[in-house]
């Protein structure tokens, strides 16, 4: 069953009088429960595509349906509501809130978006921290833990609202190989445990092969992933 349906998506930016295409006529279905990656070089359009699927940007043409909702027509408030109800995000630089502890960072979306009781919040957060192996670091601040641990916290934060889809833009770019693979296997575990669909972008050849489905993207167009994957493997 399709969770994400992209139909003829194009996106272009205007710089002065010059129009720069970022994505061109992308049509794609992504099924539920998969670990999907968009792989391609820098500037290929991966982040733009993730932003459009993540309801943070609108396509110049085409339609986007996520979790049975047409999201390219939503206004700002509806888009924020949709993201809170259906999506989770993992960022390259983790983007944890520095003044909040690990526990509070994971709890944050529940406070700001969901209306759970304090007891329910605690239970949900501790369950997620246990799942990502961060229970004993719960009271530490982000700058007191390692990069890999921060990304684990970010994974827990992305999952705490029980989203259908988690989007991760270059989630391993700031991590060493071992930690990057750890984070990937954590995402796979979470996918298996919670049935969440993960879509991540990368140009890191070390982690591409760990995805269930690989989509190549170059110059804003989808390209055959096998051709791209071979390149990746030969590079790796």
């Amino acid at each position: 069953m399709s969770l994400v349906q992209l139909e003829g998506i194009s996106k272009s930016y205007t710089l002065g009088e010059v129009e720069i295409p970022a994505l061109t006529d992308i049509t794609l279905d992504i099924d539920m429960g998969n670990l999907v990656t968009f792989v391609g070089p820098s500037g290929s359009g991966k982040t733009t595509l993730l932003n459009i699927i993540g309801c943070m940007d609108k396509p110049s043409a085409g339609s986007v349906v996520v979790a049975s909702t047409r999201i390219d027509t939503l206004n700002r408030k509806q888009a924020a509501q949709f993201r809170g109800d259906n999506l989770g995000f993992i960022f390259q630089s983790f983007n944890l809130i520095p003044v909040l502890s690990v526990f509070e960072n994971v709890e944050y979306p529940l406070i700001m978006i969901k209306k759970e009781s304090a007891a329910a919040r605690k239970e949900m957060v501790m369950k997620l921290l246990d799942a990502v192996g961060m229970t004993d670091q719960a009271q530490k601040l982000p700058d007191q833990i390692s990069g890999g641990q921060r990304q684990r916290v970010a994974v827990a934060r992305a999952l705490v609202t029980n989203p259908r889809l988690v989007l991760a833009d270059e989630p391993t770019a700031n991590l060493d190989k071992k930690t990057a693979l750890d984070v990937l296997s954590l995402m796979r575990e979470m996918r298996d445990q919670y049935g969440t669909t993960f879509i991540f972008s990368t140009h890191d050849p070390r982690i591409v092969e760990h995805a269930d489905i690989i989509h190549g993207i170059e110059d804003g167009k989808l390209v055959p992933h096998s051709q791209f994957s071979e390149g990746v493997k030969s590079n790796g």
Partner: protein
């Protein structure tokens, strides 16, 4: 909402030095306002108390049109005995009035048998008058027992400066010559019971005599009076009591179909009301300066905060935080900053006033010497200062908060 405030406070603690410096500015502003309001307000209240208690009273009631012609002290604008009778019935039934006293005011010639001068006289019932003007005796030269009447029938109290010029001393016989409202002149001999001076300093020409003597001198029959001076019960606002009296007296109409009486608060009758007005204006000016300090410092610090946290704003917006909650978060930060500064400023200001009170600083004003300023500030005034600062804090934080709430997550996340 509690969580938003919790996060807001932690965000403020991220930038401790900046928070402390901004709070310090607010503390100084609030403290200055409390000190100034307390000192100036207490001085004003003390002076009003002295003026009203020693001569004017809190309120005065006259026949309609009298105050407009007060310079000529017209006797033909006195209240008739019947009118005064009706007025006392109203006054007896008004719950805001502590005491009242009738007066006849007129001009006369004062003679010591060698020379003469004009004098303004207030003819009073000493017992009633001293219930209204409880500090009247303090204007008398020399010591005087506050429990005893300041004069008896057959006695007159004359202004100190006139007494000095005419070499009149207490116990000296003098003659007062008055002209009644029909124009006939009459003279009577009195004994000088004491010397009196205006509270704000020498230069006055106002003396006192017994009301029954005035009626004889002016050949007034019955209880005709020029004015009734009133003391309002402790804690009752003068203006509110004046309004209720005006309403009670609205039913009394003169031949022209207009209200028969006019009620005036002390402000309408004393030049000190202008000084009081200036003091109020200065307090308002200091408050405006304080608001400007709060607005500028919080606006500045919140703009910097938003600018430094663009990526963080992008992150929370991407998670699905509604723009209204992002707005609330930043407004709460400004509000908390104001709250910290206000609380510390109020505590410091009130402590400063307590210190001045404990030091018992003496000063002189006009004829009054050895006045001790005991500054106090009304809790409602403190509450108003607090509310103004908190409102200004939230207002100053609103623009940066609005800017934060309007950020597109995709742009904010890409901010370097």
């Amino acid at each position: 909402m509690g969580n938003i405030f919790k996060i807001a406070i932690r965000n403020l603690m991220r930038y401790k030095r900046r928070t402390v410096l901004t709070s310090l500015l607010i503390v100084i502003g609030v403290c200055m306002v409390v000190l100034f309001s307390g000192l100036a307000g207490s001085f004003k209240s003390m002076m009003i108390g002295i003026i009203t208690d020693s001569s004017i009273g809190h309120l005065q009631i006259h026949k309609k049109g009298y105050v407009a012609s007060i310079d000529t002290l017209p006797l033909n604008m006195n209240m008739k005995p019947k009118q005064y009778g009706k007025l006392t019935e109203v006054l007896d039934n008004n719950k805001g009035i502590e005491a009242y006293a009738p007066r006849i005011k007129f001009g006369a010639m004062l003679s010591n048998y060698a020379e003469s001068t004009s004098v303004k006289l207030s003819a009073i019932d000493p017992t009633q008058e001293q219930r209204v003007c409880t500090a009247l005796y303090t204007r008398l030269k020399g010591k005087h027992d506050s429990t005893k009447p300041i004069l008896k029938p057959g006695e007159v109290i004359i202004p100190e400066r006139i007494a000095k010029a005419m070499k009149i001393k207490p116990g000296t016989p003098v003659v007062l010559v008055g002209t009644n409202k029909d124009g006939s002149v009459n003279g009577m001999e009195f004994i000088v019971a004491g010397l009196i001076e205006d509270i704000l300093g020498p230069g006055g020409k106002d003396g006192y005599m017994h009301i029954n003597d005035a009626r004889k001198l002016l050949r007034i029959k019955g209880s005709e009076v020029t004015e009734v001076v009133l003391r309002v019960k402790q804690g009752k606002p003068f203006k509110k009591v004046a309004m209720s009296l005006k309403s009670d007296l609205a039913g009394f109409i003169n031949k022209k179909g207009k209200p028969a009486f006019e009620v005036h608060t002390w402000e309408k009758l004393s030049p000190f009301s202008n000084i009081a007005g200036m003091i109020d204006l200065m307090i308002i000016t200091v408050k405006i300066i304080m608001i400007a300090i709060v607005l500028i410092s919080i606006l500045n610090v919140m703009l910097m905060s938003v600018f430094e946290r663009v990526r963080e704003i992008g992150t929370i917006a991407a998670m699905g935080t509604l723009p209204s909650k992002i707005l609330a978060l930043f407004v709460a930060e400004g509000f908390c900053l104001g709250l910290i500064g206000t609380a510390a400023g109020l505590i410091l200001g009130v402590s400063g006033l307590a210190l001045v009170k404990a030091l018992e600083i003496n000063f002189e004003f006009g004829r009054m010497k050895g006045l001790v300023l005991r500054p106090e500030i009304n809790p409602s005034e403190l509450a108003i200062i607090g509310i103004i600062v908190l409102f200004a804090s939230a207002l100053a934080a609103f623009q940066p908060a609005w800017k934060a709430s309007k950020m597109e997550p995709v742009d904010a996340l890409g901010h370097v």
